[in-house]
Subunit: 168 residues, 2 copies
DNA sequence: TCCCTCAGTTCGGTAAGTGAACTCAGATGG
DNA sequence: CCATCTGAGTTCACTTACCGAACTGAGGGA
Protein backbone atom coordinates (compact mmCIF):
# COMPACT_ATOMS: atom_id res chain seq x y z
CA UNK A 1 0.00 0.00 0.00
CA UNK A 2 1.28 3.46 -0.75
CA UNK A 3 1.87 6.19 1.70
CA UNK A 4 -1.62 7.51 2.34
CA UNK A 5 -2.47 10.19 -0.15
CA UNK A 6 -3.99 13.26 1.35
CA UNK A 7 -6.18 14.24 -1.58
CA UNK A 8 -9.47 13.50 0.19
CA UNK A 9 -8.60 15.61 3.21
CA UNK A 10 -10.53 18.81 3.81
CA UNK A 11 -7.33 20.54 4.78
CA UNK A 12 -5.02 22.90 2.92
CA UNK A 13 -2.06 21.84 5.00
CA UNK A 14 -2.64 18.31 3.71
CA UNK A 15 -2.80 19.44 0.10
CA UNK A 16 0.31 21.57 0.48
CA UNK A 17 2.17 18.72 2.13
CA UNK A 18 1.03 16.41 -0.63
CA UNK A 19 2.93 18.43 -3.24
CA UNK A 20 5.91 19.80 -1.34
CA UNK A 21 6.11 17.66 1.81
CA UNK A 22 7.85 14.68 0.31
CA UNK A 23 11.36 13.75 1.28
CA UNK A 24 13.88 15.97 -0.59
CA UNK A 25 11.30 18.25 -2.23
CA UNK A 26 11.86 21.27 0.06
CA UNK A 27 15.61 20.96 -0.38
CA UNK A 28 15.28 20.70 -4.15
CA UNK A 29 13.17 23.88 -4.21
CA UNK A 30 15.65 25.63 -1.95
CA UNK A 31 18.49 24.72 -4.31
CA UNK A 32 16.57 25.87 -7.37
CA UNK A 33 15.97 29.17 -5.62
CA UNK A 34 19.69 29.48 -4.83
CA UNK A 35 20.59 28.81 -8.45
CA UNK A 36 21.57 25.15 -8.25
CA UNK A 37 19.34 24.11 -11.08
CA UNK A 38 20.78 21.34 -13.26
CA UNK A 39 20.36 17.63 -12.66
CA UNK A 40 23.96 16.82 -11.86
CA UNK A 41 24.47 19.89 -9.69
CA UNK A 42 21.48 18.87 -7.62
CA UNK A 43 22.87 15.36 -7.23
CA UNK A 44 26.24 16.76 -6.18
CA UNK A 45 24.92 19.40 -3.82
CA UNK A 46 22.24 17.32 -2.11
CA UNK A 47 23.52 13.78 -2.44
CA UNK A 48 20.06 12.65 -3.47
CA UNK A 49 19.85 9.46 -5.51
CA UNK A 50 19.44 10.02 -9.23
CA UNK A 51 16.35 7.89 -9.58
CA UNK A 52 14.55 9.76 -6.84
CA UNK A 53 15.61 13.13 -8.17
CA UNK A 54 14.10 12.18 -11.54
CA UNK A 55 10.81 11.33 -9.85
CA UNK A 56 10.73 14.50 -7.76
CA UNK A 57 11.55 16.83 -10.64
CA UNK A 58 8.91 15.17 -12.83
CA UNK A 59 6.34 15.49 -10.06
CA UNK A 60 7.17 19.13 -9.42
CA UNK A 61 6.82 19.91 -13.13
CA UNK A 62 3.44 18.14 -13.21
CA UNK A 63 2.30 20.08 -10.16
CA UNK A 64 3.32 23.35 -11.80
CA UNK A 65 5.93 24.38 -9.24
CA UNK A 66 8.84 24.27 -11.69
CA UNK A 67 9.50 23.99 -15.42
CA UNK A 68 12.17 22.18 -17.42
CA UNK A 69 14.10 24.39 -19.80
CA UNK A 70 16.78 23.53 -22.38
CA UNK A 71 19.81 25.80 -22.05
CA UNK A 72 21.83 24.51 -24.97
CA UNK A 73 20.81 24.72 -28.61
CA UNK A 74 22.16 21.26 -29.42
CA UNK A 75 22.31 18.51 -26.87
CA UNK A 76 19.95 17.66 -24.11
CA UNK A 77 21.03 20.01 -21.38
CA UNK A 78 18.32 21.24 -19.12
CA UNK A 79 17.86 23.44 -16.14
CA UNK A 80 14.88 23.60 -13.85
CA UNK A 81 13.32 26.97 -13.03
CA UNK A 82 10.76 27.96 -10.45
CA UNK A 83 7.27 28.75 -11.73
CA UNK A 84 5.10 31.32 -9.88
CA UNK A 85 3.69 28.68 -7.53
CA UNK A 86 7.24 27.64 -6.72
CA UNK A 87 8.43 31.21 -6.21
CA UNK A 88 5.49 31.77 -3.88
CA UNK A 89 6.57 28.84 -1.73
CA UNK A 90 10.11 30.09 -1.12
CA UNK A 91 9.09 32.62 1.57
CA UNK A 92 7.36 29.81 3.44
CA UNK A 93 10.54 27.74 3.25
CA UNK A 94 12.45 30.79 4.45
CA UNK A 95 10.10 31.05 7.45
CA UNK A 96 10.66 27.35 8.09
CA UNK A 97 14.40 27.95 7.89
CA UNK A 98 14.09 30.74 10.45
CA UNK A 99 12.17 28.36 12.71
CA UNK A 100 15.04 25.88 12.39
CA UNK A 101 17.52 28.59 13.31
CA UNK A 102 15.51 29.36 16.45
CA UNK A 103 14.79 25.85 17.69
CA UNK A 104 17.40 23.53 16.21
CA UNK A 105 20.34 25.89 16.45
CA UNK A 106 23.15 24.56 14.31
CA UNK A 107 26.70 24.56 15.64
CA UNK A 108 28.53 27.61 14.42
CA UNK A 109 25.31 29.53 13.89
CA UNK A 110 22.88 29.69 10.99
CA UNK A 111 24.37 28.60 7.66
CA UNK A 112 22.12 30.88 5.64
CA UNK A 113 20.64 34.26 6.48
CA UNK A 114 18.46 36.67 4.55
CA UNK A 115 18.41 40.32 3.68
CA UNK A 116 15.57 42.44 2.37
CA UNK A 117 15.91 45.93 0.97
CA UNK A 118 19.47 46.03 2.29
CA UNK A 119 18.75 45.17 5.91
CA UNK A 120 18.74 41.94 7.87
CA UNK A 121 15.53 39.96 7.54
CA UNK A 122 14.12 37.17 9.66
CA UNK A 123 11.21 35.79 7.62
CA UNK A 124 8.25 35.95 9.97
CA UNK A 125 4.61 35.02 9.53
CA UNK A 126 2.37 38.06 9.74
CA UNK A 127 -1.26 38.98 9.17
CA UNK A 128 -2.05 40.16 5.65
CA UNK A 129 -4.48 42.75 6.96
CA UNK A 130 -2.73 44.41 9.90
CA UNK A 131 0.86 43.21 9.30
CA UNK A 132 1.30 42.20 12.92
CA UNK A 133 3.15 38.95 13.58
CA UNK A 134 0.89 35.94 13.90
CA UNK A 135 1.13 33.64 16.94
CA UNK A 136 -1.06 30.85 18.28
CA UNK A 137 -2.25 33.29 20.95
CA UNK A 138 -3.77 35.65 18.41
CA UNK A 139 -4.55 33.37 15.47
CA UNK A 140 -8.12 32.04 15.42
CA UNK A 141 -9.06 29.22 13.06
CA UNK A 142 -12.54 29.44 11.56
CA UNK A 143 -14.26 26.96 9.24
CA UNK A 144 -14.13 28.07 5.61
CA UNK A 145 -16.64 27.49 2.79
CA UNK A 146 -15.00 24.18 1.90
CA UNK A 147 -15.23 22.68 5.40
CA UNK A 148 -16.64 19.16 5.40
CA UNK A 149 -16.86 16.31 7.89
CA UNK A 150 -14.25 14.10 6.26
CA UNK A 151 -10.73 13.03 6.97
CA UNK A 152 -8.76 15.82 8.51
CA UNK A 153 -11.81 17.42 10.00
CA UNK A 154 -13.79 14.41 11.23
CA UNK A 155 -13.33 15.29 14.87
CA UNK A 156 -12.93 19.02 14.35
CA UNK A 157 -16.26 19.28 12.51
CA UNK A 158 -18.16 17.73 15.42
CA UNK A 159 -17.14 20.33 17.97
CA UNK A 160 -17.05 24.10 18.18
CA UNK A 161 -13.79 25.57 16.95
CA UNK A 162 -12.92 27.41 20.09
CA UNK A 163 -9.62 29.15 20.37
CA UNK A 164 -7.39 26.33 21.51
CA UNK A 165 -4.08 28.09 21.06
CA UNK A 166 -3.46 29.53 24.49
CA UNK A 167 -3.88 26.58 26.82
CA UNK A 168 -2.24 26.31 30.27
CA UNK B 1 19.26 1.84 3.86
CA UNK B 2 17.14 4.40 5.66
CA UNK B 3 15.84 7.53 4.21
CA UNK B 4 18.86 9.85 4.16
CA UNK B 5 19.09 11.78 7.37
CA UNK B 6 19.71 15.46 6.93
CA UNK B 7 21.69 16.03 10.13
CA UNK B 8 24.97 16.71 8.37
CA UNK B 9 23.50 19.33 6.07
CA UNK B 10 24.54 22.94 6.51
CA UNK B 11 20.96 24.03 5.99
CA UNK B 12 18.23 25.08 8.37
CA UNK B 13 15.55 23.97 5.96
CA UNK B 14 17.04 20.49 6.16
CA UNK B 15 17.06 20.46 9.94
CA UNK B 16 13.50 21.77 10.10
CA UNK B 17 12.36 19.19 7.59
CA UNK B 18 14.14 16.52 9.59
CA UNK B 19 11.89 17.13 12.61
CA UNK B 20 8.61 18.22 11.05
CA UNK B 21 8.86 17.10 7.45
CA UNK B 22 7.94 13.47 7.92
CA UNK B 23 4.70 12.10 6.55
CA UNK B 24 1.80 12.92 8.92
CA UNK B 25 3.80 15.18 11.24
CA UNK B 26 2.43 18.51 9.95
CA UNK B 27 -1.12 17.17 10.15
CA UNK B 28 -0.58 15.89 13.68
CA UNK B 29 0.68 19.32 14.75
CA UNK B 30 -2.26 20.97 13.02
CA UNK B 31 -4.68 18.74 14.89
CA UNK B 32 -2.99 19.36 18.23
CA UNK B 33 -3.30 23.08 17.55
CA UNK B 34 -7.00 22.69 16.75
CA UNK B 35 -7.57 20.76 19.97
CA UNK B 36 -7.62 17.20 18.65
CA UNK B 37 -5.09 15.96 21.14
CA UNK B 38 -5.72 12.39 22.32
CA UNK B 39 -4.38 9.26 20.68
CA UNK B 40 -7.71 7.85 19.52
CA UNK B 41 -9.05 11.21 18.35
CA UNK B 42 -5.97 11.63 16.19
CA UNK B 43 -6.45 8.15 14.74
CA UNK B 44 -10.12 8.93 14.01
CA UNK B 45 -9.57 12.39 12.57
CA UNK B 46 -6.54 11.64 10.45
CA UNK B 47 -6.90 7.94 9.69
CA UNK B 48 -3.22 7.46 10.47
CA UNK B 49 -2.13 3.98 11.47
CA UNK B 50 -1.73 3.49 15.21
CA UNK B 51 1.81 2.19 15.00
CA UNK B 52 2.98 5.17 12.99
CA UNK B 53 1.16 7.62 15.24
CA UNK B 54 2.99 6.13 18.22
CA UNK B 55 6.32 6.67 16.47
CA UNK B 56 5.53 10.23 15.43
CA UNK B 57 4.26 11.32 18.84
CA UNK B 58 7.30 9.79 20.54
CA UNK B 59 9.60 11.55 18.08
CA UNK B 60 7.88 14.89 18.53
CA UNK B 61 8.16 14.60 22.31
CA UNK B 62 11.87 13.78 22.00
CA UNK B 63 12.38 16.76 19.69
CA UNK B 64 10.63 19.02 22.20
CA UNK B 65 7.75 20.10 19.96
CA UNK B 66 5.06 18.53 22.16
CA UNK B 67 4.64 17.00 25.61
CA UNK B 68 2.58 14.06 26.87
CA UNK B 69 0.27 14.89 29.72
CA UNK B 70 -2.02 12.66 31.82
CA UNK B 71 -5.54 14.09 32.02
CA UNK B 72 -7.12 11.50 34.32
CA UNK B 73 -6.08 10.84 37.92
CA UNK B 74 -6.60 7.09 37.56
CA UNK B 75 -6.06 5.27 34.32
CA UNK B 76 -3.61 5.93 31.58
CA UNK B 77 -5.34 8.65 29.61
CA UNK B 78 -3.07 11.15 27.96
CA UNK B 79 -3.29 14.19 25.80
CA UNK B 80 -0.54 15.77 23.78
CA UNK B 81 0.10 19.50 24.06
CA UNK B 82 2.24 21.83 22.00
CA UNK B 83 5.45 23.04 23.58
CA UNK B 84 6.83 26.50 22.68
CA UNK B 85 8.77 25.13 19.71
CA UNK B 86 5.56 23.51 18.50
CA UNK B 87 3.49 26.66 19.01
CA UNK B 88 6.10 28.60 17.08
CA UNK B 89 5.72 26.26 14.12
CA UNK B 90 1.95 26.73 13.75
CA UNK B 91 2.18 30.12 11.98
CA UNK B 92 4.50 28.51 9.43
CA UNK B 93 1.96 25.75 8.87
CA UNK B 94 -0.72 28.43 8.55
CA UNK B 95 1.37 30.16 5.87
CA UNK B 96 1.73 26.80 4.14
CA UNK B 97 -2.02 26.36 4.35
CA UNK B 98 -2.53 29.77 2.75
CA UNK B 99 -0.16 28.75 -0.05
CA UNK B 100 -2.28 25.63 -0.58
CA UNK B 101 -5.41 27.80 -0.75
CA UNK B 102 -3.78 29.94 -3.43
CA UNK B 103 -2.26 27.25 -5.63
CA UNK B 104 -4.15 24.00 -5.01
CA UNK B 105 -7.60 25.54 -4.64
CA UNK B 106 -9.90 22.96 -3.10
CA UNK B 107 -13.34 22.49 -4.54
CA UNK B 108 -15.85 24.47 -2.54
CA UNK B 109 -13.22 26.88 -1.31
CA UNK B 110 -10.76 26.76 1.57
CA UNK B 111 -11.82 24.40 4.37
CA UNK B 112 -10.14 26.44 7.08
CA UNK B 113 -9.59 30.18 7.33
CA UNK B 114 -8.01 32.37 9.97
CA UNK B 115 -8.85 35.48 11.89
CA UNK B 116 -6.59 37.76 13.86
CA UNK B 117 -7.73 40.49 16.24
CA UNK B 118 -11.25 40.07 14.88
CA UNK B 119 -10.48 40.51 11.19
CA UNK B 120 -9.73 38.13 8.37
CA UNK B 121 -6.13 37.02 8.21
CA UNK B 122 -4.13 35.43 5.42
CA UNK B 123 -0.90 34.30 7.07
CA UNK B 124 1.85 35.89 4.99
CA UNK B 125 5.62 35.80 5.28
CA UNK B 126 7.01 39.23 6.07
CA UNK B 127 10.32 40.82 7.02
CA UNK B 128 10.91 41.06 10.77
CA UNK B 129 12.56 44.45 10.38
CA UNK B 130 10.36 46.41 8.00
CA UNK B 131 7.20 44.26 8.09
CA UNK B 132 6.88 44.26 4.31
CA UNK B 133 5.88 40.99 2.63
CA UNK B 134 8.81 38.87 1.52
CA UNK B 135 9.03 37.61 -2.06
CA UNK B 136 11.80 36.00 -4.08
CA UNK B 137 12.22 39.34 -5.86
CA UNK B 138 13.21 41.14 -2.69
CA UNK B 139 14.65 38.37 -0.54
CA UNK B 140 18.43 38.01 -0.75
CA UNK B 141 20.13 34.95 0.71
CA UNK B 142 23.52 35.59 2.34
CA UNK B 143 25.89 33.03 3.89
CA UNK B 144 25.62 32.92 7.68
CA UNK B 145 28.31 32.19 10.27
CA UNK B 146 27.61 28.44 10.07
CA UNK B 147 28.06 28.16 6.31
CA UNK B 148 30.30 25.26 5.33
CA UNK B 149 31.14 23.45 2.11
CA UNK B 150 29.23 20.26 2.92
CA UNK B 151 26.06 18.60 1.75
CA UNK B 152 23.42 21.16 1.06
CA UNK B 153 25.94 23.84 0.22
CA UNK B 154 28.54 21.91 -1.75
CA UNK B 155 27.75 23.68 -4.98
CA UNK B 156 26.47 26.87 -3.44
CA UNK B 157 29.68 27.37 -1.46
CA UNK B 158 31.77 27.29 -4.62
CA UNK B 159 30.06 30.20 -6.31
CA UNK B 160 28.98 33.73 -5.40
CA UNK B 161 25.51 33.89 -3.91
CA UNK B 162 24.08 36.29 -6.39
CA UNK B 163 20.44 37.17 -6.30
CA UNK B 164 18.89 34.34 -8.25
CA UNK B 165 15.30 35.05 -7.42
CA UNK B 166 14.21 37.24 -10.29
CA UNK B 167 15.13 35.27 -13.36
CA UNK B 168 13.43 35.66 -16.76
C1' DT C 1 -20.02 -10.41 34.46
C1' DC C 2 -19.74 -8.59 30.11
C1' DC C 3 -18.86 -4.87 27.32
C1' DC C 4 -16.80 -0.36 26.14
C1' DT C 5 -13.07 3.09 25.82
C1' DC C 6 -8.40 4.61 25.62
C1' DA C 7 -3.72 3.82 24.51
C1' DG C 8 -0.99 1.60 22.67
C1' DT C 9 1.95 -3.11 20.54
C1' DT C 10 2.67 -6.82 17.22
C1' DC C 11 2.81 -8.54 12.62
C1' DG C 12 2.77 -9.61 7.63
C1' DG C 13 2.84 -7.34 3.36
C1' DT C 14 3.70 -3.42 -0.03
C1' DA C 15 5.68 0.86 -1.47
C1' DA C 16 9.32 4.37 -1.04
C1' DG C 17 14.04 5.41 -1.01
C1' DT C 18 19.05 3.88 -1.51
C1' DG C 19 23.69 3.31 -3.89
C1' DA C 20 25.93 1.60 -7.68
C1' DA C 21 26.27 0.47 -12.27
C1' DC C 22 24.70 1.26 -16.86
C1' DT C 23 22.97 3.89 -21.22
C1' DC C 24 23.11 7.32 -24.63
C1' DA C 25 24.02 11.63 -27.10
C1' DG C 26 26.91 15.46 -27.90
C1' DA C 27 31.29 17.93 -27.02
C1' DT C 28 36.49 17.80 -26.36
C1' DG C 29 40.96 16.72 -27.78
C1' DG C 30 45.24 14.64 -29.26
C1' DC D 1 38.99 9.27 -35.83
C1' DC D 2 38.95 7.01 -31.81
C1' DA D 3 38.96 7.78 -26.76
C1' DT D 4 37.45 10.19 -23.08
C1' DC D 5 34.37 13.47 -20.69
C1' DT D 6 30.02 15.50 -19.32
C1' DG D 7 25.05 15.96 -18.60
C1' DA D 8 20.93 13.66 -17.99
C1' DG D 9 18.91 10.32 -16.93
C1' DT D 10 17.42 4.61 -16.44
C1' DT D 11 17.72 0.05 -14.37
C1' DC D 12 18.23 -2.92 -10.57
C1' DA D 13 18.79 -5.37 -6.17
C1' DC D 14 18.16 -4.29 -1.56
C1' DT D 15 16.54 -2.16 2.77
C1' DT D 16 13.56 0.64 5.37
C1' DA D 17 9.22 3.05 6.08
C1' DC D 18 4.50 2.80 6.13
C1' DC D 19 0.11 0.43 5.88
C1' DG D 20 -4.11 -2.05 7.80
C1' DA D 21 -5.83 -5.27 10.83
C1' DA D 22 -5.71 -7.81 14.82
C1' DC D 23 -4.31 -8.12 19.50
C1' DT D 24 -3.18 -6.62 24.59
C1' DG D 25 -4.26 -4.65 28.85
C1' DA D 26 -5.99 -1.49 32.26
C1' DG D 27 -10.01 1.03 33.98
C1' DG D 28 -14.76 2.20 34.14
C1' DG D 29 -20.26 1.34 33.52
C1' DA D 30 -24.67 -1.19 33.31
Amino acid sequence: MPRTDYSDFACSVARSVEVMGQWWTPLILRDLYLGVDTFDELVTDLGVSRSLLTQRLTGLVEDGLIRREAYSERGDRYRYRLEPAGHDLIPVLAALSAWGDRWCTPQGGPPLLFEHDGHECVPTVACSTCAHPVTTDTLVPVPGPGARAVRGTAVVASRPLSHPGAGP
